[in-house]
């Protein structure tokens, strides 16, 4: 094993199709027009010395090290800023160049500490490398003069005003100004790659230095801790604290982040089995070498002391846990599940697959349910996030997934972001989007809250439609009204790709006066001018793309909104080529994959309905059982059935339904009514408070497999350390299945993928060998598309003709009134992830220690609430307390909070209203009242107490089995 080394070409690749040929050091090289001489040389295998250039940012030309000579030209131009041209003859090494470079290096080193042996960058320092490359042997200037290196002069001990102490305020990296060579790579990475503009160079000449914000500490600045600056830094100035503690890595593997649905590729850089750092992989096609604070830094949960490493059992949920052997645990679960089925019927148990686990693991859990339990009671957390996407896009386009790859955004001219907050929820996509917006693409934001994208450095939305929560369908249908009534639709596209009669029916529906912006203004609170302007802009600005998130799906009319979005894309001809499309931003790392793998109770892998005889036949033959042809229970239905007494046992892999699902009391009642709740997880999560069996889980670092991201991209997950609990999750499921007599014998996840490919047409071409070769592929991947499908519906829809659907707005029954006059909506924050089980166990808590309630100054003042006050948040379902944050990011009448912390229990207040088609809960609209409060509610106290009781562990198992 060795480090995966990526070549740094010095400057970004050129996209030009015109090629030019030049000669570098006597070698002919042909490159696209616009390529720098530095990059052309590197293509020919010639490394021109450089410091300020790196291919993640544009050329800057400041370090004066990469100079070259060009025949027929004067001087020594910098190769990073000089474009390659036809017929150029370039020399990279001449006596003149050698002298200049050595002189430049001598100056650099004269203001740099010589502590290389004890420096954290030792072995990974470009300054050191360049000193070697140019043959620096002597620094004639000495270190006595003005410098940034020493706190005090050696001669008289006088304090050095130029010296700055190390900034260690960020939990993950340090900034040591004494080692800075002011190449400004960090500043440019923050600007060009991340798009935050948190860093700058302050001062001029010898005074110039890197400054976060206005000479602030990193933690106090606008820095979002994405780490792009650390990656860009050629010296030890910006260094991961983990590297300082551990040392340089010695081998690495490419793997996939286990946080959000962007699915970034990383190099996990290791020393032995210890993870030294995560470095985003340049060839990762989702992230193109970028990352966010979670993926790069927040992996500490994998080794957190809270991880449970031995299986545990208890009779009653009021008992303390008892550690047992794996064998005992499997035997117990198998006999309990069989007993329950014998007693209450075959359909009285079920399972929940994890959107955090791999495709292979998810496939096995649904197989266990279908083959082993003999029913279809399997569901996944997509139920509570993107199930309406599945329903809506399948109905309109014929496939339950987004239509584009993330690269597509580079070709987009106008973007609608609706019900999503990419810079917090999907940060790496957010950065890619901002990059395109800085290049001039137009932006329309439809969101109750003024999300960062509405106005952020060098990005400003052309339109922000701050609609009242729950009125998505009205507003999107009204956009369609404008497009149809003003004749802005793409008739040629519709006639060719869609059913023209259905379009006409839909067109007359949306043209009705009740869908006009003027009428919709009254119920949505969005002025008619904004709706008209946004519709015109979207329909007339070239490639239009729609990106959306849970603010669309988690409503009573979630599925209807997805269909309204699909209608809009079809009506404007924005489907079937790069730069356009309907793009759901998926929440969890493998929520797309878990849906693909047949995790829904009505669908077998590949979205084939369980009632389809031919599909069932494929699995029945392979698995040797008869499958039920009826849909099973969805998560909310399971809980209802549990309360009714007909559902008694459940196997939950990697999902915390008690914290993440709505109406906590109802979830708790459902779980409490069951006789055998098996939780398979890293930690004693909130659901485990109601569990009878706990099976320890493994992290993404501890297993092989694949994740499928929001762009349908199947990415490899590679094992870099042994599972601390002893077994990868797929092994645990397999052992459980075998305890139930199923006789599985997979020896590696690749064999599970082979079974998926053999049974599922859209995965027919997927093998681990292909993934090894290509890095990743996007399904469908089969005979027709052997290397996968980046953009779907090219030339025609999967279902044949695109289907327009009437989308009538129906107000939710969750209404405000005198008792509950405000609307609560929920969301998330950059540093935390989902219910926080992982991120709360990392240093990310420094950015977000608790959930806060955002409330408009007007509403706060009416209630006598000041910033930072404890407030009680009450709905018809329940009440909780948290601190208030007074801000005008929310409109009057709307309040907002995150759901990252179990102590807050935001879902105590959410209701059990749900999407009409999929039962996806209506998290985004709850009528509430806010009042000043002194402390936790009775429920919070009780809950805390119950949780503490429930987590007791007695009877530790002896070490050796």
């Amino acid at each position: 094993m060795s480090l995966v080394n990526e070549i740094d070409y010095g400057t970004p690749a050129s996209r030009s199709e015109r090629m030019v040929t030049l000669t570098v050091d006597g070698m002919e090289v042909t490159v696209p027009e616009g390529t720098s001489i530095m990059r052309a040389a590197m293509e020919a295998g010639i490394q021109v010395p450089k410091l300020c250039a790196t291919d993640m940012v544009d050329a800057f030309g400041s370090c004066r090290l990469c100079l070259v000579e060009i025949e027929g030209r004067n001087g020594t131009p910098s190769s990073c800023t000089t474009p390659a041209m036809e017929g150029l003859v370039v020399r990279t090494q001449t006596n003149r160049l050698k002298d200049i470079r050595r002189g430049v290096m001598e100056l650099y080193i004269s203001d740099h500490p010589l502590d290389c042996l004890t420096c954290a960058a030792n072995g990974d320092c470009e300054l050191q490398d360049m000193a070697g490359a140019v043959g620096l042997r002597d620094v004639r200037y000495g270190y006595e003069g003005e410098n940034h290196v020493f706190p005090a002069a050696k001669t008289d001990g006088a304090l050095n005003a130029r010296w700055l102490p190390k900034d260690e305020s960020n939990p993950y990296f340090t900034y040591d100004p004494s080692k800075c060579i002011v190449c400004s790579r960090c500043v440019r990475a923050c600007e060009e790659v991340q798009g935050t503009f948190a860093l700058t160079i302050e001062g001029r000449g010898f005074n110039s230095r890197v400054s976060p914000g206005m000479h602030e500490a990193f933690i106090a600045s606008e820095c979002v801790s994405c780490g792009a600056c650390v990656q860009a830094c050629p010296t030890a100035t910006l260094t991961e604290k983990s590297v300082i503690e551990i040392g340089q890595p010695e081998h690495s593997k490419v793997t996939t982040c286990a946080y959000c649905g962007v699915g970034c590729s990383f190099k996990a850089e290791m020393r032995g089995e210890e993870l030294v750092r995560m470095v985003p992989f340049k060839d990762g096609k989702a992230n193109r070498g970028h990352s966010c604070v979670k993926g790069r830094f927040a992996y500490g949960y994998a080794t957190h002391k809270d991880r449970i490493l031995n299986p545990m059992i208890r009779e009653k949920i009021t008992d303390p846990w008892r550690e047992v052997t794996w064998e005992e645990a499997y035997k117990h679960v198998a006999s309990e599940f069989r007993r329950i089925q014998y007693q209450y019927g075959r359909n009285s148990i079920g399972g929940i697959t994890s959107s955090r686990c791999t495709n292979e693991e998810t496939f096995l859990v649904q197989k266990l349910v279908r083959q082993g339990f003999g029913n279809n009671n399997v569901d996944t957390c997509a139920r509570v996030c993107h199930s309406p996407t599945g329903y809506g896009l399948k109905t309109t386009f014929g496939t339950s997934a987004g239509t584009q790859d993330f690269d597509s955004v580079e070709h987009t001219d106008v973007v609608i972001v609706i019900g999503a907050n990419p810079t917090d929820g999907h940060p790496v996509f957010g950065s890619r989007l901002k990059k395109r917006l800085r290049q001039g693409a137009k932006l329309i934001v439809i969101d109750p809250r003024r999300i960062d994208l509405v106005r952020t450095p060098h990005v400003e939305a052309a339109y922000h439609l701050p609609l009242k929560p729950g009125t998505n369908v009205a507003v999107v249908t009204s956009l369609a009204h404008v497009i149809v009534t003003e004749g802005l639709f793409d008739e040629a596209f519709i006639r060719e790709r869609c059913d023209w009669d259905e379009f006409q029916d839909w067109a007359s529906f949306v043209s009705l006066p009740e869908h006009s912006p003027e009428t919709v203004e009254k119920l949505s609170g969005v002025s008619a001018d904004l709706i008209r302007g946004a519709a015109r802009l979207f329909a007339t600005s070239g490639n239009g793309a729609i990106y959306y998130g849970l603010g669309v799906t988690e409503h009573s009319q979630g599925s209807t909104t997805v269909m309204a979005i699909a209608n809009l894309a079809m009506a404007t001809g924005n489907i079937g080529r790069p730069g356009v499309g309907v793009n759901p931003l998926r929440g969890q790392n493998n929520v797309q994959g878990s849906c693909d793998m047949g995790s829904f109770p009505h669908e077998l892998p590949g979205y084939r309905h369980i009632s389809d005889d031919a599909t069932r036949d494929i699995f029945e033959k392979l698995w040797g059982v008869t499958l039920q042809d009826e849909p099973g229970l969805r998560i909310p239905n399971m809980l209802d059935a549990a309360v009714d007494g007909t559902f008694r046992g459940i196997y939950i892999q990697g999902e915390d339904i008690l914290q993440s699902d709505p109406d906590t009391r109802h979830v708790a009642a459902g779980l409490a009514a069951m006789e055998c709740v098996v939780v398979h997880d890293l930690f004693l999560n909130e659901t485990a408070n109601y569990a009878h069996v706990f099976l320890p889980g493994s992290t993404f670092l501890e297993k092989d497999g694949t994740f499928t991201n929001a762009e349908r991209r199947i990415n490899r997950v590679r094992k870099v350390m042994s599972p601390k609990n002893g077994y990868a999750d797929w092994e645990v499921t397999q052992n459980l299945a075998n305890a139930m007599g199923l006789g599985w014998n997979y020896t590696h996840p690749s064999e599970i993928m082979d079974e998926i490919a053999a049974t599922t047409p859209s995965f027919a071409g997927v093998t681990y060998a292909l993934l090894e070769r290509e890095g990743s592929v996007q399904w469908p991947c089969n005979e027709k598309a052997p290397l996968g499908t980046p953009v779907m519906h090219i030339g025609g829809f999967v279902r044949g003709k695109g289907k327009f659907i009437r989308t009538e707005y129906v107000a939710t029954d969750e209404k405000t009134g005198p008792r509950f006059p405000l609307l609560l909506t929920t969301g998330r924050i950059l540093s935390q992830y989902n219910v926080g089980a992982q991120t709360r166990r990392t240093a990310n808590v420094v950015w977000h220690e608790e959930d806060l309630l955002e409330i408009h100054p007007h509403d706060a003042e009416n209630r006598g609430i000041r910033d930072g006050d404890w407030v009680k948040l009450a709905s018809r379902s329940g009440e909780t307390t948290l601190r208030a944050k007074v801000t005008d990011r929310v409109s009057p009448g709307v309040v907002y909070t995150t759901f990252h912390h179990p102590a807050t229990q935001a879902n105590v207040v959410t209701t059990d209203f749900s999407d009409w088609a999929t039962n996806c809960p209506e998290y985004k609209v709850t009528a509430v009242q806010i009042a000043p409060s002194n402390g936790p509610t009775e429920w919070q106290v009780e809950y805390e107490d119950q949780a503490k009781q429930s987590r007791r562990i007695s009877a530790k198992l002896e070490a050796a089995e």
């Binding site: 359909n347 009573s556 009505h602 309360v643 009714d644 109802h666």
Partner: protein, 84 residues
């Protein structure tokens, strides 16, 4: 519905509510797709015991609380056969 006190179990009321929600969506669709749409949706997504409960409401309570369209669609909804 919803927050007012349930006459039966919560599930019973919730089921009626869900069926009516589906009916409300299909009520806005073209005339000939309404009833078939409701029946098709419930056949595709409702587990047999949910459909059994729906039929109990139809048979024993005359469909009290159910939208007219749901009652009309019932003829096309598959009556579940008890499994074990």
């Amino acid at each position: 519905m919803s927050h007012s006190g349930p006459p039966h179990s919560g599930t019973h009321n919730k089921l009626i509510y869900m069926a009516n929600q589906i009916a409300t969506f299909f009520a806005s669709q073209p005339r000939d797709e309404q009833v078939a749409g409701i029946a098709d949706h419930i056949n595709h997504f409702w587990e047999p015991r949910m459909r059994a409960q729906l039929f109990a409401i139809l048979d024993e309570e005359g469909g009290k609380g159910l939208n007219e369209l749901v009652i009309e669609a019932a003829r096309q909804i598959r009556r579940p056969t008890p499994v074990n």
